[in-house]
């Protein structure tokens, strides 16, 4: 029997708090899960620093990847025998679902921003490169790794296959919304996934939703909207991300400073600092390693690096106020001047964070062919864009969804001995000076 068709003698199951069970019968999937590159995902948290806000959010990209695989497996069971669905693509879909996040790095969002990396690039590199994952995929067929990489990169010829893994209502989102809701403990993020799976229909080049399932999809869009604001855009999590970015930035700056010597050579980071990262370097790094360095860097001679690491490790985060760059640019410039006067480096301690700095995306109706929207399939077979048919989705689609926050270390400000400078800063930030009792 060809390797691609090999089945395990008995079905394996993973207990899963979101989907109850994740079922594996294909030998290929079982072998992929066992590779070191996939096991590495156990050491990358799904939500990065969110656990500093919602303490339960310790789940990993490993959990999520299995979840996405399981959802795709269930969708394909429903698609079997339907027009437009070619069951020959089943293993390709399952492999792509399982491996879609393989290239995420430690605390990936901040990490990628500072070091100008792209996890999608590394996902593809792991799949087509010299790795154990590639070895397994090669056994299916010489072209199979490239096909899996193409599906994940959304450049696979059959866009129906792509849309299962990546569209505005895909297995990836359906898993992370439910999983993130479960682990953060929030009450949003829940929707009737079973119903959505039942009303998904394959057509020529995308998955559409049978119109009778519209209300289940509305619920999904609402969950997504609420999760963005309540979990993903949470200002405390953003504070932790700001500190994280500044730690990476500071460590890089110190490495490039010929006069600075780290107490411990930052071996794992050197190729990142020097911007010549190899696949092997990348795969070696995970959150356990990064946290190890943060732990040690608390003892570094550089006051900024040690302070930032201490803040991150002990959750002594930056405070924030709302910031409107249109109305408050003069305030910002004045704050920069006052921070410098107070001996607090504004590059690291006065930071504007915008919603567009965050990695999450809203539902978009896809006007002008920007991006494929969710389509409802009407009883006559015609397709209608969801927000044109659903008042609820339409109202969310037009909502203002952006904000900017200004982050700063209130503890350092309150400890300033120069009362005049301290009061001037607090006056701008809070509208109160000497008597301020800000926490």
């Amino acid at each position: 029997m060809a390797y691609k068709d090999e089945q395990l003698s008995e079905e394996k199951v993973f207990k899963d708090p979101v989907h109850r069970y994740v079922h594996v019968r294909d030998r290929v999937i079982w072998d992929l899960i066992a590779t070191p590159e996939f096991q590495r995902l156990r050491r990358i948290k799904q939500l990065g620093t969110t656990n500093l806000t919602f303490h339960g959010a310790e789940h990993s990209r490993f959990n999520h990847s299995l979840g996405v695989y399981e959802i795709v497996r269930r969708i394909l069971n429903n698609f079997k025998g339907r027009e437009h669905w070619n069951n020959e693509e089943r293993l390709l879909c399952l492999s792509a679902a399982l491996l879609h996040d393989l290239g995420h790095g430690p605390f990936s969002h901040s990490f990628e921003k500072v070091f100008k990396l792209d996890h999608e690039y590394f996902t593809q590199a792991i799949i087509v490169g010299d790795t154990k994952v590639n070895e397994v995929l090669q056994k299916v067929g010489p072209d199979f790794p490239n096909r899996v990489a193409d599906v994940i990169g959304k450049t696979y010829e059959d866009q129906l296959v792509v849309s299962l893994i990546s569209s505005q209502i895909d297995a990836d989102r359906m898993d992370y919304l439910q999983r993130d809701a479960y682990y953060t403990g929030v009450s949003y993020g829940h929707f009737d996934m079973e119903r959505i799976l039942r009303v998904m229909r394959p057509i020529e080049d995308q998955v559409v939703i049978k119109s009778t399932g519209m209300h289940a999809v509305e619920d999904y869009i609402m969950s997504r909207y609420q999760m963005y604001w309540q979990v993903y855009f949470h200002p405390v999590t953003r504070s932790a991300e700001v500190i994280l970015s500044k730690i990476f930035g500071r460590a890089k700056a110190l490495y490039q400073d010929p006069d600075y010597e780290f107490k411990l050579e930052p071996t794992h980071f050197i190729s990142f600092f020097e911007e010549n990262v190899t696949l092997a370097d990348y795969v070696k790094l995970d959150e356990t390693i990064v946290q190890y360095y943060f732990h040690l860097w608390q003892e570094e001679d550089d006051a900024i690096l040690s302070d930032l690491c201490e803040r991150f490790m002990n959750r002594r985060l930056l405070k924030y106020v709302e910031f409107n760059p249109n109305l408050q640019m003069n305030d910002y410039m004045e704050l920069m001047r006052l921070f410098k006067q107070a001996g607090i480096d504004p590059e690291y301690y006065l930071v504007v964070d915008s919603s567009s700095d965050l990695p999450y995306d809203f539902y978009r109706p896809g006007e002008e062919e920007e991006r494929l929207p969710i389509h409802l399939q009407m009883p006559n077979g015609n397709l209608k864009e969801l927000s044109r048919h659903s008042d609820i989705v339409e109202s969310i689609s037009g909502k203002k969804r952006t904000d900017h926050k200004l982050y700063f270390p209130v503890d350092l400000l309150k400890a300033l001995t120069d009362k005049r400078v301290r009061n001037a800063i607090l006056e701008i930030l809070y509208g109160q000076g000497e008597s301020s009792n800000v926490d």
Partner: protein, 165 residues
């Protein structure tokens, strides 16, 4: 602080306004691929390279009153137009941007249709492949667009031109 926002305002100011969200997406992508330091992250989507980050950043600029968005109903879809406002110009004055002069590049882009820019940006997305594979991939990914050989040749010429401008 907000450097990437300022770069976009600078771009809108140079173009004198952009019509079409798809056109905007492709213009910024092509500039990026021509060594202009826009930092928005792009992925391949159904209609070619697309940046959610760019969409959200433009939305932020509109909400801040730095860019004005106007919408025109075109029967099957809405078309959007973007212009810099006085507040946007004032905001921009506070920055010294480390950007090359992109006046000529933006002029070249403005003259082209969004269909042509979709073709160019798709070719650029696959530029790590050899030319034969690029064209093969283009036809695979965009079968409904029916790009002609003449259009494809023109796109390659355009890429050379914009990169050398």
């Amino acid at each position: 602080m907000l450097i990437n926002h300022a770069k976009l305002i600078h771009f809108f100011q140079l173009t004198g306004g952009v019509t079409g969200r798809k056109k905007l997406q492709k213009m910024i992508y092509i500039l990026q691929k021509s060594a202009v330091p826009f930092e928005e992250k792009y992925q391949f989507h159904f209609y070619g390279p697309y940046s959610e980050e760019l969409t959200l950043r433009v939305e932020e600029l509109c909400n801040l009153g730095f860019i004005e968005e106007t919408r025109e109903d075109k029967a099957n879809y809405f078309q959007y137009h973007y212009d810099v406002t006085k507040a946007g110009e004032d905001f921009l004055k506070q920055f010294t941007l480390d950007m090359p002069d992109i006046t000529d590049k933006t002029e070249l882009l403005q003259l082209r249709s969004s269909r042509f820019l979709e073709l160019v940006s798709t070719i650029l997305f696959f530029e790590h492949l050899d030319k034969r594979e690029q064209i093969e991939k283009l036809h695979q990914m965009k079968p409904k667009q029916n790009f002609t050989e003449a259009e494809i040749n023109e796109a390659y010429q355009f890429i050379k031109q914009i990169r050398s401008t």
